[in-house]
Symmetry: none
Subunit: 223 residues, 4 copies
């Protein structure tokens, strides 16, 4: 019944090879938007422009699709971009303020920002996802930050604080910013936060650098 002599013309091949990616894009969007359990697999397929059955040609189950989504949107943009931060040069405070904010804004603006919300929501139902997240994001992300703090301390730019705690003080608001982008903001709660992300990130880093306390007055002061 099928006379098609060329079952893989260039066009179809391109479509075919793009399918998994289109499905992953659609799945990320929907999983972040509605949660994993509340997203129907048919909806993912439809948003990717294919039918329900086709989804199952590429992913054996909805759960495997979730894992593929995490894999795809975690490994690439976060871990890879972390490396370039190490090549930075110059005074560490400037590196932190500029490079860190640029680095995170790329994450914030990318679809990967939704992965944070997704993982928070689904971690307990899929513990190996949590494990994967810890290894692929938390470890390299904090390591990047820790290296910067180390450098600053060694260079005499930073005080000798608790490096691990400081890394989290620095990064956690950035993570929550991504989370809010996909949870509260779509509900119109951005006003409550009152902050544009870029502005907040820079203000945040500057506050971490300088602290709240009034700078040592002419004569000795400060706690």
């Amino acid at each position: 019944m099928n006379f098609d002599p060329d079952p893989l013309c260039p066009f179809r091949r391109r479509r075919k090879e793009a399918r998994p990616s289109e499905l992953l894009d659609a799945a990320l969007e929907l999983f972040v938007e509605k949660g994993f359990a509340s997203t129907r697999s048919e909806e993912v397929a439809r948003r990717a422009g294919v039918s329900k059955g086709t989804l199952y040609l590429y992913f054996p189950s909805k759960e495997e699709l979730l894992k593929a989504v995490i894999q795809r949107f975690l490994a690439d943009p976060i871990a890879s971009s972390a490396q370039e931060a190490d090549t930075a040069d110059g005074p560490t405070p400037e590196v932190m303020e500029n490079l860190l904010s640029d680095w995170w804004m790329r994450i914030y603006d990318s679809p990967a920002s939704g992965v944070f919300k997704l993982i928070i929501s689904e971690a307990r139902n899929f513990p190996d996802i949590a494990q994967f997240y810890a290894e692929q994001v938390i470890v390299p992300g904090t390591a990047l930050c820790v290296r910067l703090l180390h450098r600053g301390i060694e260079r005499g730019e930073f005080r000798a604080i608790d490096i691990d705690a400081a890394a989290h003080s620095i990064l956690m608001p950035l993570v929550l910013l991504c989370v809010h982008k996909h949870s509260l903001e779509p509900c119109g709660i951005s006003k409550s936060l009152g902050l544009d992300p870029e502005g907040f990130i820079r203000a945040h880093l500057r506050l971490i650098l300088q602290g709240l306390l009034v700078r040592s007055a002419p004569a000795g002061a400060a706690a």
Copy 2:
């Protein structure tokens, strides 16, 4: 007109009055643990020690149960405790370090800490919950923090920084700490953070107060 014998013996009454609370406790646990959509209503009932039907005697639907959970665990422990913080006295840095960490540890230790994860996960599916959270938690929580910052600036203790941004720099890690308690930690990822919550909160607040930079005062000073 009513000749019936006492319609509710003490025992029955006590059970009846306790039921909603027991159901809400069970529901919070499970909604936080597995997510709203993945929690079967019968499971909530069973954890509260009653049968499926009994749940529907007290809440007309699973969705209304969710709303009641949010209402119960948001209004009471978070918003109310925020008031006492205002009565504090003494140097603002100390108030921040002591009172703020105590205040938040009470939240962290209470079952209400799970509400943060729950709201992040469900906000987009139930936008009025997001609204409620903004009004009941974000607004009073940041207002408390903003008042403290104000006081510090007016007293000359704090630099004149962007108060709103600073409030978020202070609070967001505390929120994410609660979120992690219910998402990553149960998966055994607490080691990655490498920090006990109380220690981190104090270190975090001290970092915010003092900043990273070495005190470069004209004459030697600074801690």
Copy 3:
């Protein structure tokens, strides 16, 4: 705990004895209104002014309640009143027009009229109800009608038609009138019928008596 020295004061006794009747009234109303399956037993209890449990003190199940409803509203008003019709005297056409329409209007105006709808709806689910209806209503009702027709024929007032068929021609519209009262009319369809019941019944009987055809013309005619 119960000090009541007189557990059956006159008032309570009266209530108690009235209970089954009140429950049957409420049950008839609701079964006719919503159908047996769609009526919740609690609703019956509430409309009778008692609680759910009390219903089960008087009737062992919802199904037995239905049977009691049928028994109560079938035996009494229909079968009993049929007897008096036999005592009538005078020209049979007048008896039919007057007595029959009075008799049926009493049925139509009584709550028993709803029983017709109820039985039509539930007969197949409860075949012994159908049997009971046939014995208690159809048989005596048609018998009454048959006797009247007999009398008219014997007296030379009526033509010698098929008596059984004629009885049904006479009675069926009266039955359907009762059915419509409880099915279409509450939906505002009375206008479509365009007839007040009393007027229709008299017109109907007169038509049956006189027929449609033009009365035998001066010279012989008619089919």
Copy 4:
């Protein structure tokens, strides 16, 4: 733009197009037999030879299925066949006796006869069904009858009786005959009626035409 192979083979298409009809047939049978509320949707599916889920592929809910049943079995066989009756010719009494009894026997013998019982039972629960019935059946059905009566009167064949009332005297027993076919008869009560439908219909129409009264013509006449 669509390179997919034929999306619906003939076999699948035929099944798909037949499904709704098969489901409606099964639904009518069961709704008439057991009532709407007492019919489980799975039972409808099974009688149509499909599974529970398939039913919901074609009808969004049990209630919509009911409405589709009414629509299907009302518009087609009753209203449409009413038109042909108007094309009749010849003496009106004969038209009434022959055509009307044929017309109604077709209704009686078709599955649509059950719709009368169904509507009587469910009208109050679904008022728009009652409305639909009034518009689609009562109005055209009585209009057909009214036209016949009109013609008879204008031609001098019929006396000038109350046309609307007469139409109901004619039609109501026919309707109740259909109702009984699906309520009492399956319970074995046909004997009480003692009449085969066709015989009764003809006897009924003849009685309506001729009346009960003996022809008291000046000169001898009458059948």
